[in-house]
Amino acid sequence: MGQISAAYNKAIKELLREKAALFWTIAWPIIWVIIGSFSFTGSAPREVIPYIKGSITISMMVFALMIAGMSNLPASIAGDRANGLLAKLMSMPVKPYKDFIGRISAVITLSLLAAALVMVVGVAVGARFTGTGVEIAQAIGFAFLVICASAGVGLIAGTLIKNLQGAIMTGVGIAVITSAISGLFAPYEFLPVPLQIFSRIYPISSAQASIVYLLAGPDMIAYDPLTSGQIALTITLSLALLGAGTVLYSRLGWKLE
């Protein structure tokens, strides 16, 4: 077994045995899919309701991906630093980048597991999706960008905030606040203009809008997130966040002083 799979196996076991991580990443989005599907569809025309549920399901899948990257990843990094594992690893012939790949792969696995479960529950409560094979592939690409941006934020939080609880709360706080102000929990058209601008710039909400546009239909989003300029912005900012997080982690993440 290589160092990547060693780091992966350890991280995925820890994540799957951490009740708080499972609650926020899997149970919480599922609860909101169920509540949202029965609470926010009352006055809509009957034929539109399955797509509104589809839109809610996608938003909660994106939230699950966000929480995994923004909270579970920094918890894993800060936790290992706080409990002395980092000092132990630094004394061993371990390549930091291999530890990083193993760790981030575990978070991606949990993200995908959470997203799949949210999708299953969404469909079970009546969510329906549109989309051709190409559109589904594009949607998966945007989901990947959500993972990149969230992991980037998670790496920054886990590297800069040395305290375990501080790292977790910062990650959860960023996820919840940015979700609320970027239209992840509320329709874009209900947001005040400054937040609509933020919603288009923030790569996670713009990626979420793109996925909804592709899989629940253009009627579910009040703007076109698939213009070339908007797509370029989403891709650039998602990868920039991941790049910034990776650089920061590789420079400062393995330092004790």
């Binding site: 077994m1 290589g2 196996n9 951490e18 409990n83 004394s91 061993m92 371990v94 004790l256």
Partner: protein
């Protein structure tokens, strides 16, 4: 060539000089105890040798190489608990074995053997969260003794261990000494350091004394302490005892008097006889050998246990 060679090592945190020109040599197969209070710099020194931190200046070599190039054959147990409480003891060890490049089968075999060596076979599949402090420490020591390890650095590994676990631990140390593994034990417990072949006393980032436990006690003239309890306390008892104590020093204790001698075991019988001849009944007499903590106190005027908190 020394297994570990440290020369004029300096390390500063902010304005505080944590290591101030430390020199230290450990030969192959030597068991070296580094003893000092909290904040004396011993953990920083261990972490620099283990390649976890970098020095500001000075030389550190492990078998002639820089520590970063000696990681393959160096085992380090930091002071803090680092095993994952969410994994079992076996899973933790398999994780470290995998990081060292063992295949899954090799890792499983070696780990089973190591669990047996540290007495954790029966608890191997329990999560570490359910381990006692001593069990967890034994598991963590096991992460540092994979085959091929030539240098072992153990930072306060016996803190919190019960007497049985300490015996098991020092049994393991003995086995590794027989395999010519060089061991540095960081400790503030004198009785642990007594078992080492060489002891370094460190205070305020400076090595203040070094030698075998006996050499240190002899060189720094620490006396045996004889406590005498007589049927009654009196000036006459004190005047008899003065003749047996270094510089005539007699201290009053709760139960009687304390005198100090470099040959306590020889003086003991004479003290009883003289007191008897002077008409004083000896109710109890006992002698305490000097410890390395006493040596440390003599050199620094600091009580090691109190300084450590």
């Amino acid at each position: 060539m020394f297994a570990i060679h440290v020369e004029n090592l300096v390390k500063t945190y902010g304005n505080r000089r944590v290591l101030d020109g430390v020199n230290l040599d450990v030969t192959e197969g030597e068991f070296y105890a580094l003893m000092g209070p909290n904040g004396s710099g011993k953990t920083t020194l261990a972490s620099i040798i283990a390649s976890v931190r970098r020095q500001d200046s000075g030389v550190v070599e492990v078998y002639g190489s820089k520590p970063a190039q000696a990681k393959e054959f160096m085992g380090y147990v930091p002071q803090e608990n680092f095993s994952s409480p969410k994994l079992s003891g076996r899973e933790n060890l398999v994780y470290f074995a995998s990081l060292l490049g063992y295949s899954r089968n090799q890792a499983n075999q070696i780990v089973a053997e190591m669990l047996k060596n540290v007495g954790l076979s029966e608890e191997a599949d329990k999560r570490v969260a359910k381990y006692s402090g001593g069990m967890r420490k034994r598991l963590e020591v096991a992460t540092a003794i994979f085959p091929g390890i030539k240098v072992l650095i153990l930072d306060e590994p016996t803190t919190g261990l019960d007497p049985a676990a300490r015996r098991t631990f020092f049994g393991m140390v003995q086995e590794h000494m027989e395999k010519k593994t060089s061991i540095i034990l960081i400790t503030h417990i004198g009785s642990d350091a007594e078992l080492a072949s060489k002891v370094g006393l460190i205070d305020n980032g400076r090595m203040i004394a070094e030698g075998t436990p006996d050499e240190l006690k002899r060189k720094h003239a620490v006396e045996d302490v004889i406590t005498v309890e007589t049927a009654a306390k009196s000036d006459s008892v004190i005047s008899v005892l003065k003749g047996f104590s270094i510089n005539g020093r007699v201290a009053e204790s709760e139960i009687g008097y304390k005198i100090y001698s470099r040959n306590g075991d020889r003086v003991l019988a004479d003290v009883v006889r003289s007191l008897d001849q002077a008409g004083h009944k000896v109710m109890r007499i006992e002698m305490a050998r000097p410890t390395l903590e006493d040596v440390f106190f003599r050199l620094t005027e600091k009580n090691l246990q109190e300084a450590t908190g």
